[in-house]
Symmetry: C2
Subunit: 586 residues, 2 copies
């Protein structure tokens, strides 16, 4: 037997017991004839002790040959420690070792196996198996484990059935780019890896499964960004005989359950809800961070017609009120303007109005606006003495996006975005369609199976962009963690939708014929939601990086640098698959 | 709200309540001015009732327009039924409907949505979403759901951490054929889909995760048989600081937990254990069905040297004793011989010895063997009057395989293979290597990471085929449901193993360099097991077909006939992936 206890288990109550531990050497101190070794495993750290004056000299000699990260098995007696270490649960005891067995030696690791490591990103990716030895990394995956168990526990109790849908499916040109898999037996044909199990979960509803869920890998062959991975995990759910309200209630319940069981956070209040149109109008984003206020205030009515050409020619003049920052210095204000002018944001400038303590105003546009004018602004913003107004102008969509960035920056600067405060929000009634400049046609904003609001249907022909969908996102702290919709369950409606999305009848049939046929055999009303599991884990962990919450992530070029994948494949294997590599130089 | 209750929920206690139900029309009876409709959902069936003399004529007219599999919403009052149906939990009540709403019509399904359907395999595969409406099909997936939940519940309680390993990994020529995925960004290179997460779970042990599990999709591009699918699911587990005994105990516990919680079967006894060599010797198989006896008895010593050339030239003479079948007729015995001579089995013949009630013997080889000889046989077999001996001869491996088939057939014929009796068995100490005629070299029987028995190591050079591995299979009722091993955790040993498997040093490094490098940084002793999840589900369900336990299976050519995958892909998409289709005619 390799061990009687783990390295996190022994307490003073075990004093004088004979025990065997196995683990990794974390640290060695050799001083005044005494050797102490911190032995580490997943469960904790226990101190081993060797005493030149009492221990077997051979055992002491062996201990002196140990190095960091050696794997050892130690047998000995539990003793009370002279100097208690109250930072660890095993800190009251140590093991007086009488038998030591090196199970495996270790080369010196390329970086320190400590929470504060000296390893850079690339090195830690290459030696991910060593990076994962660090307690804070392992804790992230332990959180992910708990999230998975609690998600299933909740959904199982609500009679959701976990069903595995296939990974080798059919390629469809709609949506993001598919990964494809050549078929050997069906020559010249390809499977695709699923971007989501969307059609399968809808078919399960047609099958009468009533409530489905799956924690499932999905795949998108997209150009990668920091928070995107070619393979990612979804909590995928679907329900029958439900209206939007039923879905929101169910998954509000799930989210609260996860916060309570995994984070110990009780979210007692109903989640806030906001129309998509309002989210855009008041926060410039479909995923507003509501940990702080600063809603947008539009002042076209007050700011136009004062001979300030920039405003007069602008589609929208809009600003935020920053509480208590009326004393910002010129330097601070210049820094804000500079931030807004960085290429990523691309604003031309930033107007400020300081609400002075004496009731007067000082602005960057005093030339055009009187104290009276500015007082009217301040009233509209609800500003009091000591506040700062920051105002921008331009094309509506652009200026909203830019002001959103400014609002988030002010929130961060003022410490209003505490990662341990959680503000959930349902954003409701997304547009059904969005115009795509490149292809000059409308695309489904969510996916082609989303149902439109019945009352907006007449606009499908006249003003498609204004049609709202029965679609909703769950946003927490400015992060979209899930989204879904009530689906179309009527064949004719689905066919109409494909038509509006520019599918020919043949295209629709070739790609989704099975689903439309299924709708002819009694499809129930249904809807669902999918959560980005990697992202929800990083949110729970208080981190911005989803990569830390994935055991073996890929880098920004889609490579696994640890195993060195992707890689070349034998020609004979490709021949069997009826394909040939043909690299074109750019 | 679509419903106040499900179709499986209402009881006599709900009498006189106003309720709303939604579901599918299962059956309609229209008789003497009364209409009864069986309304079905996942939770059960409830009877709706319409009475011409009492109901709103418009509602009655609507009811008359319903067809099978229409989706309807019905509102009404719960009444006590005149004639109770005690076959269903809702059988004491019916709903007097006063409002009926057709949510979706249905075409006539291509087969009956009944447990005993009239739909053939192909039709049911094409309309799998309708096939899954049948209660017995849905129950199979409900069992799978419960198996998943209980597996996780057990392993979570034992501190196993669920970790998702990547799906886009690296292709290795070892083992079965990989599915590959062309990379767009790394031109000319390919990912592979995992045949199992083997190397990743070993790396997690190197990371100190101590106990890992995952219920995970795996992929093999092999020629398919009835019980094989290109994508299948494994319960994949690994543990550190363990010996074989720890693993067997843990997963014996898991198996018992599953039987108890999912099937209500208490397996109180320790699982039987058998050496691989004994399984082959006594049952001609590495997965013996122990629901019945009939072990093989070898009689070379008794049967040779009697001038029966077939025996004299045979490597092995071996038989089984069939209790109480000494009265088999000539016709019955001829049928057995014929069975053994079918091409799949390919035996030349079958020798029988009847142990008559009067103590005499009647055999098919009386010419060569005296009553005295046959008496000695009977004694060796432990046969009593009324028993039948069935004996075969030939090359050891061949004759064992053939006799194994005969033993299983006799077990089936005699009703000794009850699908509701479960006999688990650990088969231990598999050979490390097996000779492959085609490539003229040894292959790893399990995989190249399996550790050899220390005491057999010296034979690696002299008699590699005789070296035993620390490898074990869990067999239940003749079905291999899981297998695993204690792994190599020493770099040099792993290198030696690759050498014996015919890898050059470069090949080993190119394919598994990351694992061998990981072994240099303190790899702990570890081992694990993987269960075939589809198969364990079908075993629990008492079925031979794994396909019924997969929501959307593929057919024997690897096609999903429902969605019609695989399929052709645009040339532009292939160009982006730097590949070209090149089908060679056979």
């Amino acid at each position: 037997m390799y061990r009687t206890h783990t390295c996190g288990e022994l307490r003073i109550a075990n004093e004088n017991e004979r025990v065997t531990l196995s683990g990794w050497v974390q640290r060695i101190r050799d001083k005044g004839g005494m050797i102490w070794v911190d032995l580490r495993d997943r469960y904790g750290v226990t101190q081993l002790m060797f005493d030149e004056s009492k221990s077997d000299p051979q055992v002491v000699a062996k201990a002196r040959e140990l190095g960091r990260e050696f794997v050892v098995q130690a047998q000995g007696t539990v003793l009370k420690r002279y100097s208690v270490n109250d930072k660890i649960p095993t800190g009251e005891i140590e093991i007086m070792v009488d038998s030591l067995n090196v199970l495996n030696a270790s080369k010196l690791p390329p970086f320190m196996i400590e929470n504060d490591t000296d390893g850079g990103d690339d090195l830690r990716m290459k030696y991910r198996y060593l990076d994962l030895r660090r307690e804070n990394q392992r804790e992230k995956l332990a959180l992910r484990h708990r999230m998975m168990q609690e998600t299933r526990r909740f959904l199982d109790a609500k009679e959701f059935m976990e069903v595995e849908t296939p990974v080798l499916i059919k390629s469809t040109p709609e949506g993001a780019r598919d990964f494809v898999v050549p078929s050997r037996t069906n020559k010249g044909e390809f499977y695709a890896l699923p971007q989501s199990p969307q059609t399968f979960k809808q078919l399960l509803m047609v099958s009468g499964f009533d409530r489905y869920f799956q924690i499932v890998k999905c795949f998108r062959d997209e150009d990668l960004r920091a928070d995107r991975q070619p393979e990612f995990t979804q909590i995928d759910c679907e329900m029958s005989f439900v209206e939007q309200e039923d879905i929101l209630n169910t998954f509000e319940g799930m989210t609260k359950h996860l916060f309570k069981t995994v984070r110990g956070v009780e979210l007692t209040e109903d989640f806030e809800r906001m129309e998509y149109a309002d989210a855009m109008k008041f926060y410039g984003s479909d995923k507003p961070d509501l940990r702080f206020g600063m809603p947008f205030v539009e002042i076209n009515d007050l700011a136009k017609g004062k001979d300030f050409k920039i405003f007069d020619s602008a589609e929208l003049i809009v600003g935020i009120k920053v509480d208590g920052c009326g004393n910002y210095t010129r330097k601070q204000l210049d820094a804000l303007t500079k931030f807004m002018q960085t290429p990523q944001i691309g604003a031309k400038g930033l107007v400020h109005v300081k609400c002075n303590e004496d009731g007067s105003f000082k602005s960057s546009i005093d030339k055009f606006f009187s104290q009276e004018d500015l007082k009217a602004w301040a009233e509209k913003f609800g500003a009091k003495a000591g506040d700062l107004l920051l105002v921008m102008s331009g094309h509506t969509d652009t200026v909203r996006k830019q002001l959103c960035e400014l609002r988030l920056k002010m929130g961060s600067d003022l410490g209003l975005r505490d990662p341990n405060t959680f503000k959930p929000l349902w954003v409701m009634n997304f547009p059904l369609l969005e115009w795509d400049e490149e292809s000059q046609r409308y695309h489904a904003m969510h996916h082609p199976f989303t149902s439109p609001k019945v009352e907006d249907m007449p606009m499908l022909d006249t003003d498609p962009g204004a049609v709202r969908a029965n679609a909703y996102d769950l946003v927490i702290n400015g992060v979209e963690i899930g989204g879904g919709s009530i689906r179309i369950h009527d064949r004719e409606m689905q066919q109409l939708m494909f038509k509006h999305l520019g599918f020919s009848e043949e295209e629709a049939k070739a790609q989704f014929g099975f689903l439309m046929e299924a709708f002819e055999y009694g499809a129930p009303p249904h809807g669902g939601i999918a959560f980005g599991f990697d992202r929800i884990c990083s949110l729970f962990g208080g981190s911005d990086s989803i990569r830390d919450y994935i055991a073996f992530p890929k880098n920004n070029s889609g490579r696994d640098v640890m195993i060195d994948a992707p890689s070349a494949v034998d020609n004979t294997q490709l021949e069997e698959l009826s394909i040939r590599v043909e690299v074109k130089e750019d």
